[in-house]
C-alpha cells in the first residue's frame, strides 16, 4: 500500500506544483539580493540571509530558513488534510477499503507518503537553492560570516549570542555559526542533518492534519484546522505568558536545525525537537486510528 500511495503522490501534478512553488520563493529572494546587493543586516531577517552575499554555498541553509515557517507547513497541511478527506469526497476511499486495504495500513501509508513529500520538498529546496546560490550569488569568495540567526537562538547554545564574527578563511572553508571553520564534507553532513530535522519537524503538522482528515470529508477544512493549530503554536511560542506550555508546542524546536551549523553541533534542542515530533505523531496517529478504524464510510 505504501508503494501505491507513493505512486499516487508522484503522479499527481499538484505535488510538483507545490514543490515548484516552494522552490520559487528562495529563487526570488536570491534574485532580489543579487540585484540590489542589499542583504538584511546581521541579526535581522531570516537566518543566514546576511551571510549569503559573501558565501553562495550557504544559500541552501538560508533557503530552508525562508520556507520553513510558512510555505512548507502550509503545503504539508494541505497534502495531509487531503489524504483521507480528499479520497472520501472523491469517492475513491470506499473502493480502496473494499479492495480491501486495511484502514490502519492506509493511515500509515498516507503518513509515509506525506513524509516523502516533505523530504522531497526539502531536497528540492536544498538542491535548487544551492544552484541558485552558486550561480546567482556567486561561488565561494573564501569569505564566510558567522551569523547570529535572527535572535531566535540567541539565548540558547554556546557561542550563539555573540556578535557576528566575520572572518576570512583560507581556501573554501566555511565558518560555522560559532566561528570555527567547517570543511566542505562537514558542511554537507550538517546540511543533511538539517534537512532530516526539518523533514521530521513537519511530522507534527502532518499528523494533526491527518487526524482532522479522518474526522471531516472536507480536505480544505482539515488543512485549515491544522494550520490554525500551527499558527496558534507559533503565536504561543513567542508569548512569555505561555512559557508553561511552550516546551510541548509543535513549533517550539523548529529552528533548532540551525544548531547543526554550530561547532560542535549543539544537540540538546535537536533531540528535543525530534522527541516532540515523535510524541505528536504517536498521539495524533493513534487518535486518527481510533476514529477511522471504527468509522462508517458513507461517502
Amino acid at each position: 500500500m505504501i508503494a501505491v500511495e507513493l505512486a499516487k503522490l508522484v503522479r499527481r501534478p499538484r505535488t510538483w506544483m507545490s514543490i515548484a512553488t516552494i522552490c520559487a520563493l528562495p529563487l526570488v529572494v536570491a534574485i532580489f539580493i543579487a540585484v540590489t546587493h542589499l542583504e538584511p543586516p546581521p541579526g535581522q531577517g531570516s537566518a543566514f540571509l546576511s551571510a549569503v552575499l559573501n558565501e553562495g554555498q550557504l544559500y541552501p541553509a538560508a533557503a530552508l530558513a525562508l520556507v520553513l515557517p510558512v510555505f512548507l507547513p502550509v503545503a504539508v497541511a494541505f497534502i495531509a488534510g487531503d489524504s483521507i478527506a480528499g479520497e472520501a469526497s472523491a469517492g475513491t476511499l470506499r473502493y480502496l477499503l473494499a479492495r480491501p486495504v486495511g484502514r490502519t495500513k492506509l493511515l500509515i501509508a498516507k503518513l509515509v507518503s506525506i513524509t516523502a513529500f516533505t523530504t522531497l520538498s526539502v531536497v528540492a529546496v536544498t538542491v535548487t537553492s544551492y544552484a541558485t546560490g552558486v550561480l546567482i550569488l556567486g561561488p565561494s569568495r573564501a569569505a564566510a560570516v558567522g551569523v547570529a540567526p535572527g535572535g531566535i537562538s540567541s539565548s540558547i547554545g554556546p557561542g550563539a549570542g555573540g556578535a557576528p564574527t566575520a572572518g576570512l578563511q583560507s581556501g573554501a572553508a566555511i565558518t560555522s555559526l560559532s566561528g570555527a571553520p567547517l570543511t566542505f564534507l562537514e558542511l554537507i553532513e550538517r546540511v543533511l542533518g538539517a534537512m532530516a530535522f526539518i523533514s521530521v519537524s513537519m511530522l507534527g503538522v502532518a499528523a494533526i492534519a491527518l487526524f482532522l482528515s479522518t474526522i471531516t470529508d472536507s480536505a480544505l477544512g482539515a488543512a485549515l484546522g491544522a494550520l490554525a493549530a500551527l499558527i496558534a503554536s507559533e503565536v504561543l511560542v513567542t508569548l512569555n505568558a505561555a512559557s508553561a506550555v511552550q516546551p510541548y508546542l509543535p513549533t517550539r524546536y523548529w529552528l533548532a536545525w540551525i544548531d547543526f551549523f554550530r561547532q560542535p553541533i549543539f544537540w540538546r534542542d535537536i533531540q528535543h525537537g525530534f522527541a516532540i515530533q515523535a510524541v505528536y505523531v504517536v498521539v495524533f496517529l493513534a487518535a486518527a486510528w481510533a476514529n477511522f478504524a471504527t468509522k462508517d464510510v458513507t461517502t
Binding site: M1, A3, V4, A7, K8, R11, R12, P13, A90, G91, T92, R94, Y95, L96, L97, A98, R99, P100, V101, G102, T294, D296, V297, T298
Partner: protein
C-alpha cells in the same frame, strides 16, 4: 453466498436498515429493489465492511463480515453508488493502481487482467486520456471494469446502469448474464424495475429499511389465472365467453381462464379472429409498488399509485381486477417498460 440475520443499522435516531435477513444463493442474479432512501446503499455498504452494523450478523462467501473481510473482499467485485477514479490518471492507470492496493493481487498478471477487464466493458481501445475527460457512461464502464479486475466470484453492484445510454444498459446486461453463466453470482441494487426484471432471477424489496419481500422472480410472476386476448369482433367474443370476461378495453379483453390453449381453441372454433393471446402475469412494478410505501424523498405523499385504480371501461365486475395496466399490456411476461 450472502446471508444476513436480523441486520440492523441505526444512524443516530434514524434506522436505515431494520432486521434484514437476506438470502442470496450461489449462482443467483439477485436484484435488491426499493424506493430512494429505503436503505439499499447502506445495506450494500454493510456487506462490504464499509459501514458497521448496529446489530445482526452478515456472512459473505461463508465468512463473517466485517471480521473476515480481509479474506472475503478480494473475491468480490464492487460498484458502490457512483464509480470513482483519480481524475488526473488514465483509466488504465487507475485500474492498475487500484489493483495494486490491498492483498492477493498478482503483479505478474496485473497488466493482462486490467486489459481483459477493459475489454469486457467495451473500453479495450481507450487511449491515455485522463478520467477527468471521460463521459458519465465511460466512467460507469470503468467502474465496472474495476470490479472485474480481480475476476471475482461475487459481484456487488449498486445502481450499475446509472448514466448508461440504452446501448450501454444492454451491453451491461449481456455482460452480467455472461459472467453469471460462467459462475459469478450477481447481487445488484437498483430502483430501475425494467433492469431488474430483465436480468434477475431473484428479488428482494426493501421498504423503509425492512425487507418486505424476497422470492424467486419466476414465482412472483406466476400466471394470474387470467388471459389477455386481443381480437377482432370483441362483442362476439364477450358474448361467447359469457361471464368470463372481466374487463374490456376496445379490442382487448381480460378473460378469466387457467388454460390459454383451451380459450384460444374456443375462440377460433367460433371464428373469432384472435390477434394476440397471452397469460397475464403481474408486472414487477405492480409487485413492488404493492409492498412499498412512498420513497424517503417524498413527504406527505399520497397513497402508493398501485392502489389508485384508473380503470378505462369496465365490462363486467371490475372489483377482482387488481391491475389496470395489464389490460394495455398483452406481452407474455408483463412488459417491464412501464416502470418509471
Amino acid at each position: 453466498m450472502i446471508t444476513t440475520q436480523n441486520l440492523t443499522k441505526r444512524f443516530g435516531r434514524v434506522e436505515a436498515v431494520r432486521e434484514v435477513s437476506l438470502d442470496v444463493r450461489e449462482g443467483d442474479r439477485y436484484g435488491l429493489l426499493g424506493p430512494n432512501g429505503s436503505g439499499k446503499t447502506t445495506l450494500v455498504r454493510m456487506l462490504l465492511g464499509l459501514v458497521y452494523a448496529t446489530s445482526g450478523s452478515i456472512s459473505v462467501l461463508g465468512e463473517p463480515i466485517p471480521g473476515r473481510a480481509r479474506h472475503v473482499l478480494p473475491e468480490i467485485g464492487a460498484l458502490i453508488e457512483q464509480p470513482a477514479a483519480y481524475p488526473h490518471l488514465s483509466g488504465r492507470a487507475n485500474l492498475r493502481l487500484l489493483d495494486a492496493a490491498g492483498p492477493h493481487s498478482a503483479r505478474r498478471t496485473r497488466r493482462r487482467r486490467v486489459d481483459d477487464a477493459l475489454e469486457e466493458v467495451g473500453l479495450a481501445a481507450i487511449d491515455g486520456r485522463p478520467v477527468r475527460a471521460y463521459s458519465l457512461g465511460m466512467r460507469q464502464r470503468l467502474g465496472l471494469a474495476a470490479a472485474l479486475v480481480r475476476r471475482p466470484r461475487l459481484l456487488v453492484l449498486d445502481e450499475p446502469t446509472n448514466g448508461l445510454d440504452p446501448r450501454g444498459i444492454r451491453d451491461m446486461r449481456d455482460l452480467l448474464l455472461r459472467l453469471n453463466a460462467e459462475g459469478v453470482t450477481i447481487f445488484l441494487s437498483s430502483h430501475l424495475l425494467p433492469e431488474v426484471s430483465a436480468l434477475c432471477t431473484r428479488v428482494g424489496v426493501l421498504d423503509s429499511g425492512r425487507l418486505v419481500l424476497q422470492d424467486q422472480l419466476a414465482d412472483l410472476q406466476k400466471p394470474t389465472g387470467r388471459v389477455l386476448v386481443s381480437c377482432d369482433e370483441p362483442e362476439r367474443a364477450v358474448a361467447l365467453l359469457d361471464g368470463l370476461v372481466e374487463r374490456r378495453d376496445g379490442a382487448d379483453l381480460v378473460v378469466r381462464s387457467a388454460d390459454p390453449a383451451e380459450l384460444n381453441a374456443r375462440l377460433v372454433a367460433a371464428d373469432v379472429p384472435v390477434r394476440a393471446l397471452a397469460q397475464e402475469r403481474r408486472a414487477l412494478e405492480e409487485i413492488v409498488l404493492a409492498v412499498t410505501g412512498a420513497g424517503a424523498d417524498q413527504f406527505g405523499a399520497r397513497a402508493p399509485a398501485a392502489a389508485t385504480p384508473a380503470d378505462p371501461s369496465p365490462v363486467a365486475d371490475p372489483a377482482p381486477v387488481a391491475d389496470p395496466s395489464s389490460v394495455a399490456d398483452p406481452a407474455p411476461v408483463a412488459d417491464p417498460g412501464d416502470a418509471p
